[in-house]
Symmetry: C2
Subunit: 373 residues, 2 copies
């Protein structure tokens, strides 16, 4: 059990570091912005819990209008249902009877669905649902350009949908049509082309389903980088964005519609770090490294400090270059870092420290931290 990094009422300076901070003003701005967009676009919002891994946040999203949550792992679904979420969709394939039984067991307390891209997955899920006397929703994942999981659009998808519809204990719900790689394409024009192509794959599949008399309620997909495209497409009717509540440098760098940074949402997630060494005037070392933020998308950005840059990252340290225009950094100073990639960063922490007006307002447990099975 790790030390809890703060108490409600603590000032920023009193927070033990490294700590994962949520700026509540920015977080709530993001929460309501996407909820408002979804409402006015007339699409359902089912935010992705793979990002936050926290039922407290899930319930806030539901209170703001979301229909439920999606997640990638059975362990995340367990944390969500235990935490009071009543509609959970695993936007992913689930393989192996132990996992499928855990998922079926949740369906006694919540509406539960999962995705398929092969008949043998359907057979196994049907067996688990039947054993537990429950119904699991089933979506066909189609490959809309990501070349990861998913069957081909059109007849292959329609055949699998029929197979799900006929399987005891399962109910065919619709299509999982998420284009993951499109989210991070570095220009709006590229993202638009990718989603246009994806839309045509979905349309082909809808036609095949209609031709075979299969009712398809849900077309689910979209992420933080493309939600406005799917949301106004009149094809997708459910949005799965997750990172929008937090943002990160990878999303900021994809660029907005008119160039510059992507500023649809505000940065609300930070790793708070402390200066632990100041060996030279132009170098400061902070106490947070690869075990406090993930590094595969490059070093974090330093928030709200002019001319200070993270130039080196190791397991437990961040090396800061303090430029000539910067205010000098002193031992014990606190620095807010914007992570490169929010999802794997969150997965390193046990608590969110929720902050407003310089004070800790709440501690939210990240109950699905490490729930990768």
């Amino acid at each position: 059990m790790n030390v809890i990094p703060a108490q409600v009422g603590s000032t920023i300076d009193e927070i033990d570091t490294p700590a994962l901070i949520v700026d509540l003003d920015a977080f709530e701005h993001n929460l309501h912005k996407l909820a408002g967009f979804s409402r006015s676009a007339g699409v359902r919002l089912r935010p992705h819990a793979k990002t936050h891994k926290c039922p407290t946040i899930a319930l806030k999203q539901v209170a703001a209008g979301a229909v439920g949550q999606c997640c990638q792992k059975v362990g995340e679904a367990e944390a969500l249902v235990r935490g009071g979420v009543r509609d959970v969709m695993v936007s992913n394939e689930v393989v192996g009877m132990p996992k499928l039984r855990r998922l079926a067991a949740l369906a006694a307390d919540a509406t539960v669905a999962l995705c398929f891209d092969a008949k043998e997955q359907v057979d196994a899920a049907s067996r688990a649902a039947t054993e537990f006397g429950v119904t699991l929703g089933g979506l066909v994942e189609i490959d809309v350009g990501m070349q990861r999981c998913g069957v081909a659009a059109g007849n292959a998808a329609s055949d699998l949908a029929r197979y799900i519809a006929d399987a005891p204990g399962l109910r065919f719900r619709g299509l999982q049509a998420y284009h993951g790689t499109a989210q991070h394409l570095p220009s709006f024009a590229q993202r638009e082309r990718a989603i246009t192509d994806a839309a045509s794959a979905v349309r082909t599949t809808i036609d095949a389903l209609e031709h075979n008399g299969i009712i398809c309620e849900v077309i689910s997909g979209a992420g933080t980088g493309t939600f406005a495209l799917e949301g106004t497409s009149r094809i997708w009717n459910e949005l799965q964005a997750g990172s929008y509540v937090f943002m990160d440098t990878e999303y900021a760098r994809i660029g907005g519609k008119e160039g510059g940074l992507y500023t649809e949402f505000r940065h609300s997630l930070f790793v708070l770090a402390t200066v632990m060494s100041v060996p030279t005037a132009d170098r400061a070392i902070v106490d947070a490294g690869l075990k406090s933020y993930s590094g595969e998308k490059g070093p974090p950005w330093v928030h709200n400090r002019e001319d200070v840059e993270v130039v080196g990252v190791s397991d437990e340290h961040g090396k800061l270059k303090v430029g000539p225009k910067a205010e000098r950094l002193r031992m014990g100073d606190k620095v807010m870092l914007i992570p490169g990639h929010c999802d794997p960063t969150v997965n390193l922490h046990d608590w969110y420290v929720a902050v407003r007006a310089g004070r800790v307002q709440a501690l939210w447990p990240i109950t699905a931290r490490g729930a990768s099975s």
Copy 2:
């Protein structure tokens, strides 16, 4: 609380995935190889717990001849002392009274030391030790070429050593002289040059200490990439290698003395993953991504499968290219992945699943997982 991935006696196929596997034969080979080297070189071995974060492994290292452990964080020291390790050195600066009090509290049950590179750190540690009525060992960290923390070699180091020696509650023990960046230099010749330079910085400092009549018991440093250099230098008398028990692709790629891969130690750490989708004959998707292994050193390698390669990594998925010479991968097949970087990979998991001859022999809790404060 996450699901425990296996039971003692389970076969590999019964292990729930993703799971962190320790191959006991390879692990014990590594354990005894470095212990044997240290014994014959006449240097103390103080393996780094930042790698394994597990008192069970620490006690095995001590049983094999190590004098204790080093670690980077107070939370790791707490886990080690609670787990029965009786000599712990924090090879890092510790800033802030809350952390220093936690460390001082441990000194009632164990020999505890920490590193310094500034006088204000010494003042604070002295205060904490005095409050708790204990003695903390103190080492001066010198910069031997890494340009991270540490004072300059020579007189600056000697001044700080004197300051520690004079501080109530502290006892000057020696020098922390670790060259982190040297560990991963891509040729043996480069590593040798870096450690030669480091040795000269240490020698300068030893001379300054002697000149000032300060006794220096410990010269601690070295890692998995350079241990043989420091170990035979007649300067360092304590080795801090950590990754040697596990290895990873980053270490394998640094190259051996005669070129090729670096094969001083065997790969003993794996992420076990399950094939969850086989969309095409040449593509298989496994259920382990960036939340099960860290990605900043590139994708993991596939162990013991010809012509299968990880070509894409996302948060919860690994995309495998199955080449023409590969055995076909089927849904549910298990794959062993060698992580790019062992330390941050371990920090994602709650349990080691220790395996020998295809059976689970033990489950070791990673009690310092997430202990970054």
